[in-house]
Symmetry: none
Subunit: 254 residues, 2 copies
Amino acid sequence: MAGTDHRRFDAGDNGGGGPAIILVDPQLGENIGMAARAMLNCGLTDLRLVRPRDGWPNARAVATASGADVVLDAARSFETTEDAIADLTLVFAATTRDRDMIKRSYSPEQAAQAFLREDHSGVIFGGEAWGLHNDDIALAEHVITVPLNPGFSSLNLSQAVLLIGYEWYKAGRDAPPPELRMTGTRPASKKELVAMFEHLESALDDSGFMHIREKRSIMARNLRNMLQRAELTEKEVRTLRGVIASLAAHKPDE
Amino acid sequence: MAGTDHRRFDAGDNGGGGPAIILVDPQLGENIGMAARAMLNCGLTDLRLVRPRDGWPNARAVATASGADVVLDAARSFETTEDAIADLTLVFAATTRDRDMIKRSYSPEQAAQAFLREDHSGVIFGGEAWGLHNDDIALAEHVITVPLNPGFSSLNLSQAVLLIGYEWYKAGRDAPPPELRMTGTRPASKKELVAMFEHLESALDDSGFMHIREKRSIMARNLRNMLQRAELTEKEVRTLRGVIASLAAHKPDE
């Protein structure tokens, strides 16, 4: 996670900080809190609420935000969707249902690219009960549709926020290849590996495991293959050599 | 959404149906239900629970699953993580924290590619309170780490399930990569691997390698970690057991 772009985590500044999240007619404080948590997970901090049913602030939102207070504290409440998005220049409406409106439909991934290009963007989400009104959708340039199981595509509000935030967070970063985490050690050199293989093979010669001569080289090759797939560290090679030595030296009970 | 691959939505069949989701020590039924909903959003149906705190089935889970009954009805409860993953051949541990264990760390996107190649895969998630125990992580081949705001990376349980399911769902919509097939063998099951680990650990108890009591569990965990990174086949597990038996039985020259 080194080299993170800190520009993105400046609270309260939507310029370059990713899309604002606008919740229209949200009902449950729990969902607002979980949405705030999901936002901060993705480095988003600009939360705007339109007519929250139970008023604002809301203690239940604090409970489920699990510490994402920076988002809740900066959240603003508005009377209309128009007011909430007044300063934005690119707005998407999150919707799973097909509407009788001609809009370009973006995936969260495609929308993320647009957020990177546009400093004052936002996404509007409908409430738990009805989703977005057509009038709200009509305020948006485009819609975002999440690719999901068509037989069961209704997302919890905070889950929808998370997926859009997640794609934004990922965008622009190339995923590094799977990284082998190691602390206090380094990958084993070939020299160390081969010495370990020879140690093992010699112990197996002694124990009689390699006694079928014409199979010895195949057997040794198989063992080398499987152990090399593990991409062992230097420390692990030493551990395995300890294991081999211990097993080989032990005199079993008669 | 036309042309969806319906193969994926056969409930209760993990073959080709994406990863099993294994929740270890889950506490709140609400979170189990939301995880089930997130799973079905992504076409996943194989839910396994290890020691759910409030028992199983759980009425609160039904309430928050919002209709994902097919997942809850087929969910199975287990006493141990080993039992829950016994039939799987590729297991990831979902973790946000760095552990002092050498594992390859995948993004959800990279893990999704692995799920497409491997029919009997799974992801284990820790409970709300403590996350996964190191012993559970040691049962996994690899870890999944979600790229998130490093200053606030703790995900709600169902959110973590969603992100991993979402990437799996997305991955299958592109042409899947050519299937990797091995001739004359198959990936080892967890049951076979754990039996091999126990064989090795017992031989090392006898030989005195594990004699420092307080280090025994760390040593065993390290050995499990390194051998699992090799993604062994069933045949290779048999070979290694032959190696262990041969070394342990051999009486060295005095």
